[in-house]
């Protein structure tokens, strides 16, 4: 109501609990308190989301008003603001809120996947809740186990709506809403559909933003334990690029600690027969997808064919389901390449099994992914080109950490070890798949060199234009002095775009539909904010600060690797020489490494 807006950003003095502090005008009381180490309990607030001010646990006293205000929503504009964060009535109000929530929160903490990492449980601890003044409510819901990736137990829901807001604000999917009102209200899907029927991308951002165990991944740990403990089974695991920069957080290491070597050791200790790097398949993806792009460009520029450009990446299964659901008519823009996980899976039970003389029936392929949508992807009926389900189980970063803890492996103290051959040493290009823009950077490193015979003209091969967390980035690179066979690309300015988080993907697709992307050749889209390093299966919490730390870890590991370009991965080259002998996008690779898409969703009814 005041003439505040113009002045946002200037420094002002505020009083908190009698002490003076300097603060940025326009920041919230919560931000100021966090910056100054003053504890404020929160539940509905999340750094990724707009403030909602609905759980009310963060109430504070502003200028001694008759009522309390929420720290997470109250922006301080007035230099004389006097804030009190603890007083008898504040404590009583917070405690009342907490006990009201606990009294309708049904579930045993010790059987809960979020035990030890639950914001509600943490507050109960802080507030010393030993008994409840309110009678406990009976359960209202049946757990929803219908989905292949996400499990719902809404009796644990505290209606903070972080899932609803993540699905709306970050992902523009709108799969979740609040139904009914008052004490009867609940978080649910359209018409109360089960999660497998709901229009949902399985991205897991709702899970990653839930403060409690109400939303979780569908558990694969039990099946994996059974496989590992079965002596008949040859159990292999592949690990996605984004895991190594994050799984350490589950063991108390600071975000951004790269733990590649310790992770491989832990997996071996756990009993996996082989520990492989998904990065191998990421390198393979670059060759396949890069070739596909060049072929599309050739078809368009030389043969004048009506091929779909821009080509859009297909590594992210949440994104794939999103486009199938919301832009079913535009799926032809997608690269036909399977995601690295699925390329790897298809090769394990074919190439690898043949080479090693293992009966694929006796093989169990596990993948360790930062992602819940990968669980869905692995179970898509078409993902069985090896003649078997290519990937049997998908563990999230969180699930794997739990297994390592359960096994009693002292993760942080482990010695480093290498990945197993024949899929060891992958390139740094593959590693950066874990961050938004990484696929594009990797593709450019390879495509530019294929076409021109020279390395990309950037210092240390770092294409900084592809990096960072801006929602949608564009850039271009001019192809000059190209090799003879690519003469049709001489002088072409290769334009690319990079989006992460489905809300940004939505913008891109709307623009594409309006014809505003006609001059763009290649777009990378990742379903999750930040790319896989911010995936729905990553350690909780994930925030921009944490994403940045994980990205830094990934990029610095890339810089330190001997091989930085996918086409220099010796194992990939071996594969093309000995198995996929008709080369990238050849017949054999099409059978194993490419796929098709399934239009679905509400829009199909039209």
């Amino acid at each position: 109501m005041n003439e505040q807006v113009r002045e946002i950003g200037t420094q002002i003095k505020v009083t908190i609990n009698g002490e003076e502090y300097t603060a940025r005008r326009g920041s919230t009381v919560l931000e100021i308190c966090e910056d100054n180490g003053i504890p404020i309990p929160t539940l509905c607030a999340h750094d990724d989301l707009k403030p909602a001010g609905i759980c009310r646990i963060c109430v504070v006293d502003i200028n001694g008003g008759w009522n309390l205000e929420t720290a997470c929503t109250w922006e301080v504009h007035d230099p004389d603001t006097v804030i009190t964060t603890h007083s008898p009535r504040i404590r009583r109000a917070r405690r009342a809120i907490l006990e009201l929530l606990l009294a309708e929160h049904c579930g045993e903490c010790y059987t809960c996947i979020r035990g030890g990492n639950c914001e509600l449980e943490d507050l109960a601890e802080i507030y010393g809740v030993r008994d409840l003044r309110f009678e406990r409510e009976d359960p209202r819901f049946e757990p929803d186990t219908s989905s292949v990736s996400i499990y719902r137990d809404m009796d644990k829901c505290i209606q903070c709506r972080r899932c609803v807001r993540a699905c709306d604000e970050l992902q523009a999917v709108g799969a979740l809403g609040v139904f009914g009102r008052g004490p009867e209200s609940r978080v649910d899907t359209f018409e109360g559909m089960s999660f497998d029927e709901a229009v949902c991308t399985n991205c897991g951002q709702c899970v990653a933003h839930c403060p409690t165990g109400a939303l979780q991944e569908i558990d694969h740990t039990r099946a994996v334990w059974a496989a590992i403990e079965d002596p008949e089974k040859h159990v292999v695991v592949q690990t996605a690029p984004a895991i190594r920069a994050a799984i350490g957080e589950e063991f108390g290491l600071p975000p951004g600690t790269s733990v590649t070597g310790r992770m491989t050791t832990a997996l071996r200790d756990l009993g996996f027969d082989r520990v492989f790097d998904t990065n191998f398949a990421a390198d393979l993806t670059i060759l396949e997808e890069g070739t596909e792009l060049l072929l599309r460009l050739q078809a368009a520029l030389v043969e004048g064919k009506d091929v779909k450009l821009p080509q859009i990446t297909s590594c992210s299964p949440g994104w794939i389901k999103y486009i199938e659901l919301f832009y079913p008519d535009l799926v032809d823009h997608l690269s036909t390449c399977k995601s690295p996980q699925q390329m790897f899976g298809a090769l394990m039970k074919s190439f690898y099994a043949e080479e090693q003389g293992i009966d694929p029936e006796k093989m169990v392929t596990v993948s360790l992914m930062p992602c819940t949508a990968k669980k869905f992807e692995a179970q898509r009926p078409e993902m069985a080109d090896s003649g078997h389900q290519d990937v049997d189980y998908v563990l999230t970063t969180r699930e794997m950490a739990q297994m390592i803890k359960e096994a009693g492996i002292p993760f942080t103290q482990l010695k480093d070890s290498q990945y197993d051959e024949p899929f060891g040493d992958a390139s740094g290009a593959a590693l950066i798949f874990g961050a938004t823009g990484g696929v594009m950077e990797a593709a450019l490193r390879t495509a530019y060199e294929i076409v021109t015979g020279r390395e990309v003209p950037f210092e240390n091969l770092n294409i900084t234009a592809t990096r960072g967390f801006e929602g949608f980035k564009t850039g271009s690179i001019v192809l000059e002095d190209v090799l003879d066979e690519w003469s049709f690309l001489e002088g072409v300015e290769l334009k690319f775009g990079i989006a992460h988080g489905l809300a940004n993907a939505h913008e891109v697709m709307e623009r594409l539909r309006r014809g505003e992307m006609d001059d763009v050749h290649f777009i990378e889209i990742m379903a999750c904010p930040g790319g896989c390093l911010g995936g729905g299966g990553q350690p909780i919490p994930t925030t921009d600060v944490i994403r940045q730390a994980r990205a830094n870890a990934i990029y610095s590991e890339d810089e330190g690797l001997p091989i930085r370009k996918s086409h220099e991965n010796p194992h990939v080259n071996y594969l093309y020489e000995h198995y996929l002998t008709d080369g990238p996008c050849g017949h054999r690779s099409h059978e194993l490494l490419h796929t098709e898409y399934t239009p679905r969703g509400f829009r199909l009814k039209k």
């Binding site: 609040v178 139904f179 359209f190 009814k605």
Partner: protein, 163 residues
């Protein structure tokens, strides 16, 4: 009230979007019209509304679930909303409730077998000076007695039977 079977919702909703606008702020108007015409807003209609306004079907249905006068399941042709708030309560709304229940052979929250009537409670409807009061669809009936309530029902029964 029109039947929903076989309706081309795309067409119906398109006409309503033309009338109200194709933006989210037109949602309530469109839902209210559908509710008036068909007695509820079925899921298929909700999906069309969502597509027409560019919002998620989930948010169409969560909006419906918020408002007492909107629903996604069919109710009776006549929805009787008896006011349960204090002034009507003090004016013996319980007797009216009993008369309605007896007359229709259903409890509150239920619909008669012939699909003609649904009985519901509602909160203060602004007729406190003429309590007890009820709405039947959007018609207001005030200063009710058990007898007058029964007569009103009989009137609608005749009308509905004819219609």
């Amino acid at each position: 009230m029109k039947a929903t079977a076989g309706v081309d919702w795309c067409e119906v909703v398109d006409a309503l979007a033309e009338k109200h606008d194709r933006k989210p702020h037109a949602l309530m108007g469109i839902l209210q019209d559908l509710q008036m015409e068909y007695g509820h807003v079925c899921p298929d209609a909700q999906i069309e509304v969502a597509l027409a306004l560019g919002i998620s079907p989930t948010h169409v249905s969560d909006v419906i679930s918020f408002y007492h006068f909107l629903c996604s399941e069919p109710k009776g042709q006549y929805v009787v909303w008896l006011c349960q708030t204090i002034s009507c309560d003090m004016a013996d709304k319980d007797q009216i409730a009993k008369a309605l229940s007896d007359e229709l052979g259903i409890s509150f929250g239920e619909t008669t077998g012939d699909g003609l009537f649904t009985l519901e409670y509602t909160n203060c409807m602004g007729m406190c000076d003429q309590a007890p009061a009820m709405l039947v669809n959007d018609e207001v009936h005030v200063s009710l007695t058990p007898d007058s309530a029964r007569e009103i029902i009989a009137g609608y029964r005749r009308e509905g039977g004819l219609g």
